[in-house]
Amino acid sequence: MAQATSRRDALRAGVLLAPAYLWLTVAVFLPLSAMLFFSFLSAAPFTSANWHVTGLNYAEFLTRSIYPDLLGRSLLLAAIVTLACVLIGYPCAYVLARQVKGRAREALFLLIILPFWSNSLVRIFSWAIVLRGNGIIDHTLGALLPFVSVNLMFSYTAVVIGLVHSYLPYVILTSYLALQAIDESILEAARSLGAPFRTILFRLLLPLSLQGLAAGAVLIFVPVAGSFMEPRILGGKHGIFYGTLIEDQFVATFNWPLGAALSFILLAVVLVILAAASPILKRAR
C-alpha cells in the first residue's frame, strides 16, 4: 500500500480507536497502574506510616506453595469449564446457525442471552436449590427411581455446573456469529462430492468458525480463572481457589499490595497461556 494512504489509514484508525481506548485508559488502565504500583510496596500507603518499594509480594508467591498450587487448581477449573462450554455450546450454535431459519432464529438468539439479565447471586442461590440433597434434582430423581439420592451441592461438580451455566452464552453466540457467516454453497459443494459430515466438520466448519469459537473460549477462560463467588457458595468447603486468596487480601486482611501482586501474576499467566495458544489457532486456519 502506498505511503500516503497508509498515513490516512493511520489517522482513520486513530479516530476510530481513540474514544474506546481513552475511555479504557481513564477508567481501567490508570487505576490498574496504581494497583500495579501498590503491588511493589511493603504496605498500602493509606494505612502504614512506613512503606517502601519492594519485590517481596511477588517473591511471596513462590515461597508459599499454596499460591502456585491454587493457581494451578484455578487454571484447571477454567480449562474444564471452557472445554465443557465449547462441547455443549458449539453444536447448539451449529443448529442455530445452519438449521434454524427466519424469525425463530432471531428469537432463539435473544433467548440464549436473556438469563444473564438476572442477578448472578440470585442465580447461584437458585442453583443451590436445584442441586442440594432434598432439592429439585433429588426430588425429581427420587420420584422416578426411589432409593436413589443425589446431593451435588458443595462439590466440585456444583462449581463446574454453576460456572458452565454462567459462561455458556459467550461461546454459543460467538460461534454462532462465525458459523452463520459460512457460505452455504461451500457446504453444498462438499456434500454433493459425498463428503461425510465428519469431514465437513473438521475440514470446513471448524476451521472457518475457529476465530469465533476461540473468542468465546477466551471470554470464558479468562474470568473463570479468577472467579471466587460461584466456587465459594456452590463449592462449600471444596470451593477454595486462587480468586479466594486474592479476595482474602482485600476483605480479611488489609493487604492490598499482596492482593494486587497475586492478581497481576494471574493476569501474566493468563496472557502467556493465550499467547502460547494463538499460533496453534493460526496454524489451524
Binding site: A43, P45, F46, T47, S48, A49, N50, W51, H52, R64, I66, D69, L70, F125, A128, I129, R132, G133, N134, G135, M153, F154, R232, I233, G236, K237, I240, L245, D248, F250, V251, A252, T253, F254, N255
Partner: protein, 352 residues
C-alpha cells in the same frame, strides 16, 4: 523521606477530594451513616422518628467487611457523619486519624451505658470517647434443636463424630482460630500454642459440610438441612428463631467469641452535632425496644435491656451472669497476627 512524601501525597489527595467532592456537598439537615445493611440505624421507623424530632434526614451507605469500612472512611473524607466500628477496630481507626473524639456531655443516654461496655478501654482509650458502645453479642453454638438432644454444653460438639458432615462454621480465619483456641482452653486473645490450634482445625475439617459467610447463607443452608450444628451470631440466632426456624443458641462452657459494636464520628464529619444527637437516639431505650421486637443484638444500654419484655431472645440468652462471664470480647489484632491467622486458615482449608 518516606514520611514527607506521604504527607505530600496525603495533602494532594485531600486537595483533590475537596475539589472533587464539591458536588457531594450535603444539606446541613442531613447526616450520612456508614453501617452494615439492615443493622438498626437504617430501620425506617427510627430514621423517620429522628427526622421528625430534629429535622435531620438520615442517608445510608453500607459496607460488607470491616476492612472495606476503613477503606471507605479513608477514601471518602467528609462523606460520613456516623460510622459503625467493631471495638476491635476502633484503635486502628483512631491511630489513622479517621475518627474524632466524641464529646458526650450533651448525650444524656451515655450515662446509662453498662460500665463494662461504655467504658471499654478499646472504645475509651485514656478516658477519651472514640466510640459510643451500642450493641454487643456473642458468636456461639446454634444447633437444630429437633435433631440435637439434649442441648449441648460444650464446643466439643463441633468435633463430635456423630455430627460428621453436618457441621458448619463461618469462613473467617480469625474466628475459626479463636474457637479452636477456646476449645483447647487457650486464651483466645493471646494464643500461645498456634500449632495445637492448627491441628485442632485440621481435625475439624472432615466434620464440616460447608462454610457460611452471611446470615442469608446460614438461614438457607440450615432450613434446607445442609447442617445441624454451627457457630452463629446471637443476633442472627434470635432473628432465625423469630422467623420460626428450630434453632437453639448455646454459649458453651469453654466460652464464646464476643463482639462489641460502637458508633463513632469520622474526624472529617461536618455535622458532628447532628451525629451526636443521632447516636444518642440509637442508644435510647425507646428506639431499642422497638428494634428488639424485630430481632436485634443486646444493647449496651443497661436501661434499654431492662425495658425489654421477658420473652426477648437476648434477655433470655444472657439472663445468667455466669453465661455473660463466659463471653470473651475480641481484642484488636496487629496486622502481622491477622496475616498469620489468615494464612493458617488458608493452609488448613487447602490441605483437606
Amino acid at each position: 523521606m518516606n514520611r514527607i512524601n506521604r504527607r505530600v501525597l496525603l495533602g494532594a489527595m485531600s486537595a483533590a477530594v475537596l475539589a472533587g467532592s464539591a458536588g457531594l456537598a450535603m444539606a446541613a439537615g442531613e447526616i450520612r451513616v456508614l453501617n452494615w445493611q439492615g443493622y438498626g440505624t437504617d430501620e425506617a421507623f427510627a430514621t423517620e422518628a429522628f427526622e421528625k424530632k430534629t429535622g435531620v434526614k438520615v442517608v445510608h451507605d453500607y459496607f460488607t467487611s470491616e476492612q472495606e469500612m476503613l477503606t471507605k472512611l479513608r477514601t471518602n473524607p467528609g462523606a460520613y457523619d456516623v460510622v459503625l466500628i467493631n471495638s476491635a477496630f476502633t484503635g486502628q481507626a483512631k491511630a489513622e486519624g479517621l475518627i474524632a473524639k466524641i464529646d458526650t456531655s450533651d448525650m444524656p443516654n451515655v450515662k446509662d451505658l453498662a460500665p463494662s461496655m461504655g467504658q471499654n478501654p478499646d472504645l475509651v482509650p485514656g478516658g477519651d470517647v472514640y466510640g459510643v458502645a451500642w450493641t454487643w453479642g456473642a458468636t456461639a453454638l446454634a444447633v437444630n434443636k429437633d435433631k440435637v438432644t439434649p442441648l449441648p454444653t460444650s464446643l466439643a460438639l463441633l468435633w463430635d463424630p456423630q455430627y460428621a458432615g453436618k457441621v458448619s462454621i463461618r469462613d473467617d480465619g480469625v474466628e475459626a482460630i479463636q474457637f479452636a483456641a477456646l476449645a483447647l482452653g487457650q486464651d483466645m486473645n493471646d494464643i500461645k500454642d498456634l500449632e495445637a490450634v492448627k491441628a485442632k482445625l485440621k481435625a475439624l475439617m472432615p466434620q464440616i459440610k460447608t462454610f457460611w459467610s452471611s446470615e442469608n447463607d446460614w438461614n438457607q443452608f440450615f432450613s434446607a438441612g445442609d447442617f445441624t450444628v454451627s457457630t452463629f451470631w446471637s443476633g442472627g440466632a434470635g432473628r432465625s428463631i423469630t422467623k420460626g426456624l428450630p434453632v437453639a443458641f448455646v454459649v458453651p462452657q469453654e466460652g464464646a467469641v464476643g463482639w462489641l459494636d460502637s458508633l463513632a464520628i469520622p474526624a472529617t464529619s461536618k455535622n458532628q452535632d447532628a451525629a451526636r444527637a443521632f447516636i444518642n437516639w440509637m442508644i435510647d431505650p425507646e428506639f431499642y425496644v422497638q428494634w428488639a421486637a424485630k430481632g436485634a443484638p443486646s444493647s449496651a444500654n443497661a436501661k434499654a435491656n431492662a425495658a425489654l419484655p421477658d420473652s426477648d431472645f437476648n434477655k433470655q440468652a444472657f439472663a445468667d451472669p455466669a453465661v455473660v462471664a463466659r463471653v470473651h470480647f475480641m481484642k484488636p489484632l496487629s496486622d502481622e497476627t491477622r496475616k498469620a491467622y489468615t494464612e493458617l486458615w488458608q493452609d488448613v482449608k487447602t490441605a483437606q
